[in-house]
Symmetry: C2
Subunit: 241 residues, 2 copies
C-alpha cells in the first residue's frame, strides 16, 4: 500500500472508530438510564431509552456501509482489515446491547404501578452496577486496544453470571411463596436476564479487542494462553440457562 | 480484477459458502434435536446437542479466518465483498443459534425428572415447529439467494413472536395457580424464549440474503419497499419483553 492510500485508509479507519465510540457512548447511556428507570423508579427515563433506538440502528447501518466502502476502496492489509471487521462486529454487539436496554426500559414501564420493594432491588442493583462497569470498560478496551482492560472485562463476565444466578434463585423463591408476586418477579427476571446478555455483548467486544492486540482468537477458547487461568475457567463455566 | 484473480476469488467464495452451509446444517440439527429432547422426552439427544458445540465454534472461527484471508488476498469488488461480509455475519448468527439450542438441551436435562404434561407441551411444540421451519428456510434463502423465501422468513418471525407471547401467558397462569409449578414452568419458559431468539437469528440471516439480492439494507426498516406491508408491520411490532 503506498503512502497516499495508507493515509486515506488511516483517515477512514479513524472515522469508523470515532463513529463506533459515539455509538458506544449512546448505548452505554441507554443501559445506565434503563437501569435507573427500573431500579430508582424513574420511569421518565424509559421513553428516552426507547427514543434512542432508531439512532443506534442508524449508526449500525452507516458503520457497515462505511466499513464495506473503505475495504473495497482502500484494500487494506490483513491487520488493517481485521480492525475494520472488528468494528463491524462490535457495532452489531452494540446494537444488540441497545435492544436489551430497550427491553429493560419496557420493564420499567410495566413495573411502574407495582410495589417498590423495601430493599430497592438490592441484588439486581449490584448486577446492574457490574454490567454498567463492564460496558464502560469494554468500550475502553476497544478504544485504547488495552489488553489488560479487555481481560478484566472477560473475567467480570463470570461475576455477572453468578449475580444473575443469585437473582434468579431469589425470584423463584418469591414466586413459589406468593402467587401474586409471579408477574412482578417475572418482569424483574427479564431485567436481570437482559443485564446478563448485555454482559455477554461487552465480553464479545473485549474479545475482539484482545484479538486485535494479540492476533489470537480467544473466542471459544478454554485454555488460551492469552487469558489467565481464572478467566479461562470463567469462559468455560456452564451457562445459567 | 483480472480473470485469474476473479476465478480464485470464486473458488474461495464457494468454499466459504459450502463451509457456512455445513455449519448451518449442523446447527439446524442441534435445534431439531434439542426440541425433541425436551418435547418428546428424548433426553438422550441432549448430550449430542451439547457435544456439537465445539465443532460449531470451530466452524465460526475458521470461517472468519477464511473470509479475512480471502478479502486481504483477492481484494474483491464491493458486491463480492458484501457477500463475504454476509458470510461472516451469518456465521455469528449461526453460532448464537447453536448456543440457544444448547440452552434448550440443558432444559431437557433439567426437566428429565419432571411430570410430562398431558398435552405434551402442545403450545411449545407449535412454536418449535415454526422455528425449525424458519431456520431451514433461512438457510435456504441464503444458499439460493432467494428473495421470496427470505421475505417469508421475515414474515414468519411475527408468528413466532405471537406464539412465544401465548406460551408466556399460559405459563404465568400456571405459576400463579400452582406454586409447585413455578420451577418447571420457568424451565419451559427458557425453552420458549430460546426458540424466540433462534427465530430472531433466522430472520437476521434472511435479512442478509435479502440485502445481497436487492443491495438494500432491510434491517431496522419499517417501511422498506423491499418488504411488503405485512412484513414491515411485523418488524415494527413491539417485542414481547
Amino acid at each position: 500500500m503506498n503512502k497516499h492510500i495508507s493515509e486515506q485508509f488511516d483517515a477512514d479507519l479513524e472515522s469508523a472508530r470515532s463513529q463506533l465510540m459515539e455509538m458506544g457512548g449512546l448505548v452505554e447511556r441507554q443501559v445506565r438510564e434503563a437501569c435507573a428507570a427500573v431500579l430508582d423508579q424513574r420511569e421518565e427515563l424509559a421513553q428516552g431509552v426507547r427514543d434512542a433506538e432508531p439512532t443506534v440502528n442508524r449508526f449500525e447501518v452507516n458503520l457497515d456501509d462505511h466499513c464495506v466502502q473503505t475495504i473495497a476502496l482502500r484494500q487494506p492489509t490483513a491487520s488493517d482489515l481485521r480492525m475494520m471487521i472488528s468494528v463491524l462486529k462490535t457495532s452489531t454487539d452494540l446494537e444488540r446491547m441497545g435492544d436489551e436496554a430497550n427491553r429493560i426500559a419496557k420493564m420499567a414501564l410495566a413495573l411502574s404501578g407495582a410495589e417498590y420493594p423495601e430493599d430497592r432491588y438490592a441484588d439486581v442493583r449490584i448486577l446492574a452496577d457490574r454490567v454498567i462497569d463492564m460496558v464502560s470498560a469494554a468500550l475502553d478496551s476497544f478504544a485504547r486496544m488495552d489488553a489488560a482492560v479487555a481481560r478484566s472485562v472477560i473475567r467480570a463476565d463470570k461475576a455477572v453470571d453468578d449475580g444473575y444466578r443469585q437473582v434468579l434463585k431469589r425470584l423463584v423463591g418469591d414466586m413459589q411463596s406468593r402467587a401474586e408476586a409471579v408477574e412482578r418477579s417475572l418482569n424483574i427476571l427479564w431485567v436481570a436476564r437482559a443485564l446478563e446478555r448485555i454482559g455477554d455483548h461487552a465480553k464479545n467486544i473485549s474479545e475482539y479487542a484482545l484479538y486485535l492486540v494479540h492476533g489470537e482468537d480467544v473466542r471459544h477458547s478454554r485454555n488460551s494462553g492469552v487469558l489467565d487461568d481464572e478467566a479461562a475457567t470463567a469462559s468455560a463455566a456452564p451457562r445459567t440457562d
